[in-house]
Amino acid sequence: MDKAISFEQVTHTYQANTPYAQNALADVSLVIPNNSFTAIIGHTGSGKSTLVQHINALLKPTKGSVQVLGRVITPATTNKNLKAFRQHVGMVFQFPEKQLFEETVIKDIMFGPKNYGVSDADAQQAAKSAMKLVGLDQSLAEKSPFDLSGGQMRRVAIAGVLAMKPEILILDEPTAGLDPRGHKEIMDLAQQLHDEDQMTIILVTHQMDDVVNYASQVVVMDEGKIVKTGTAAEIFTDPGWVYKMQLNLPSSAEFAQKLVDAGVPVGKLPLTIDQLATKISQLVAEGADTDE
């Protein structure tokens, strides 16, 4: 597998050389393979957002270098041609509905592609298929985005990013504040983009269930450093460590942990609902309950 993104000893200091200076990333090295689904987790203020903003050249490293799809960003990179970095990297910010501004939904979705020089007709085409992808009815196209519900606005904003047809898609807590159904639809969309359109997906999240259900690679951050990388199974083996990182276990593992605490011999903690169900039916079949 090719690498889509690599960080080499990246340090980022906000407002360097002032009394306000703050170290947000410290000597971070990381490789994200092409067409992977990477989840970045860590407590608030651990440097997740700073990390992903480097991928889109919204921030430049204070030290070290970042390579994205063959292009290199170093502290010496000038601000002139950053647009080229961003064209192939789509970024969905937290509460992306805040970025809507156009008079109609379709115009807002066309905004991104047009900025990168796509013709009106092509942008419209891209916008329409993006609307379909996120599950927005075409009848909404001429409505004002400010007349829509919160969930629909979120979809418009995501469609606005997808219409640019990025190769890398960064999702920064894309489901915050959504209802359970909206949550599942957005996450399934990410999965679909990964599986069918071969996008490289980077998901910043606090939802451990999403991590085990969707991600192929997990990066754990703490105080501006990457403390662990691996599959979900490798990350969640040690509940004590997970809690120390101010994170949670996935709900299935949490449930199983309670069984363990009650004296049920669960063995290796199940991570998904399916694994948990299998494990419980196994236990029931073995008659391994502890009540008599």
Binding site: P19, Y20, Q53, K80, G90, M91, F93, K98, Q99, F101
Partner: protein, 264 residues
Amino acid sequence: MSNFLFGRYLPGNSWVHQMSPQSKLMLSFYFVIVIFFANNLASYAALAVLIAIVILLSGVSILFFLKGIRPLVWLIIFTVALQILFSAGGTVLWKWGPFSVTNLSLINGGFIFIRFLLIIMISTVLTLTTTPLAIADGVQTVLKPLKKVKFPVDTLALMLSIALRFVPTLMDEMETILNAQRSRGVDFGSGSLKHRVQAAVPLLVPLFTGAINHAENLSTAMEARGFSDSEHRSKYRIYRWQLKDTVSWLVFLLVGGLVLYLRK
């Protein structure tokens, strides 16, 4: 932008930080008035020495301070250049069309430059060492006498502190929106003037929408907690006049007298 200091607060525990906000506020006003009395090198030098001492006492490194106000110096230079080119009187040194430079306009321009610089310095020290909320509190204390003529001082102070409170929030939001639109391919700060004005729309519309939302949420929250502007409001933090304030005022008054003595 990140080096820009004007209007920002730097936490600390220096002499100037510890002074009470109302006294700092009045002292800054007083200093600005004294600046306009100075009219020769000696009197300006006295004020410059005073401001240098104030900066030292504020615990901010002088180099960092000067760097922080550098962006504003260009604004002053522009104003001074206009002043020099358009004022008349004295011996003409250079003339081109409506523009002329005379020895008097050069001297005046120099003094205006120093005057602006001193004003910017004292107000930067004020905001660097005083939290926005403390400034609002200071304004309230200073304006208290106006209550006698039924002027809504408390409401004004509340408005001021709410406005100041939301500056960092809106700055954060602007940063996020800037980044979001940048990643959608907007190029802020380059291209023709028309292009730049157009680029402001995707920034300003979301920013205003957000601000209005904040206002609505805040008013709901205030009402839910039973806010009413007719109540007498007590304060969590009370800023008292201290010895440091008295000493500072004595020094400033002394320098003020010195300026009156030194001026032509």
